[in-house]
């Protein structure tokens, strides 16, 4: 087995400071203002919470009940 292949896609070699400074400008993380970050976070959580607030749809409660009455973890179709 080739060791080199194993690590492909997992991690990049450590960058040297010189290599970093040669990077394309778009690869450099732009500084986001604190407020912008906070608002992005708020939007993200609002979107997420929207789903959380829907609770557990019946289909999932039924699924658990059904599995329970089968007395086994039926891994195939419903």
């Amino acid at each position: 087995m080739n060791d080199r292949e194993k690590t492909v896609g997992q991690s990049k070699p450590m960058e040297t400071p010189a290599a970093r400074s040669n990077k394309k400008p778009e690869a450099k993380p732009a500084k986001l203002g604190r407020e912008v970050q906070a608002r992005l976070g708020q939007q993200l959580r609002a979107m997420y919470d929207d789903v959380l607030n829907q609770g557990v749809p019946d289909r999932f409660a039924d699924l658990i009940k059904r599995i329970d009455s089968n007395g086994s973890g039926n891994k195939d179709r419903q």
Binding site: L40, A46, L52, I67
Partner: protein
């Protein structure tokens, strides 16, 4: 094998957050719900590999995420915004105050590369620590941190926001309006 009550309850308790995560991965509620259902069935079938005392929610998220990666991602027509066309189209719209709307935000999130999107959701919305998110995604903590940073930067670019005023009504206002129903 009969499932014990505690396990059943904790799987059910995780459903809302699994759905929220799945919807953000799939960008589609029906497919997200199928993904959640398959996750539950897999979890139940493999319940013996769950270590009692560890975080059930993180375990379920890991199953969901891996299942999505292996089965769903290839089916999804991913619109990775690598060439910035989507961002350009937004920028060409007339500037207006508070132009970031809810739907627009959701859309922008869908245009993030999926590894950045999942990292941002896990840390920024699901409430996992960087370490937990790294475990769920099977990568280094530093990788998660950089994905989250790139995701935020990219979102701001796509949405063309430079200051807090570029956002719509304050979330608190929105929450008050939403809770009135």
């Amino acid at each position: 094998m009969s499932m014990d009550d505690t396990v059943r309850k904790s799987i059910l308790a995780a459903v809302p957050s699994l759905r929220a995560f799945a919807i953000s991965l799939c960008g589609n509620v029906d497919r997200a719900d199928d993904l959640v259902q398959e996750t539950m069935l897999r979890a139940i079938a493999n319940i013996d590999s769950f270590q009692p005392g560890t975080n059930m929610s993180a375990w379920l998220f890991t199953i969901l995420r891996n299942h999505f990666r292996s089965e769903y991602r290839k089916r999804r027509r991913e619109v990775e915004d690598s060439d910035g066309h989507y961002a350009d189209s937004l920028k060409s719209q007339p500037e207006q105050h508070g132009h970031v709307e809810f739907a627009e935000f959701r859309e922008a999130l869908n245009h993030l590369p999926s590894d950045q999107r999942e990292a941002l959701i896990l840390v920024g919305a699901s409430g996992f620590s960087y370490e937990e998110a790294a475990n769920i995604c099977g990568c280094a903590v530093g990788t998660i941190k950089s994905r989250v940073n790139r995701a935020r930067t990219r979102l701001a670019e796509i949405l063309n926001v430079h200051s807090a005023e570029d956002f719509g009504p304050d979330e608190q206002t929105r929450a008050v309006l939403a809770s009135g129903e």
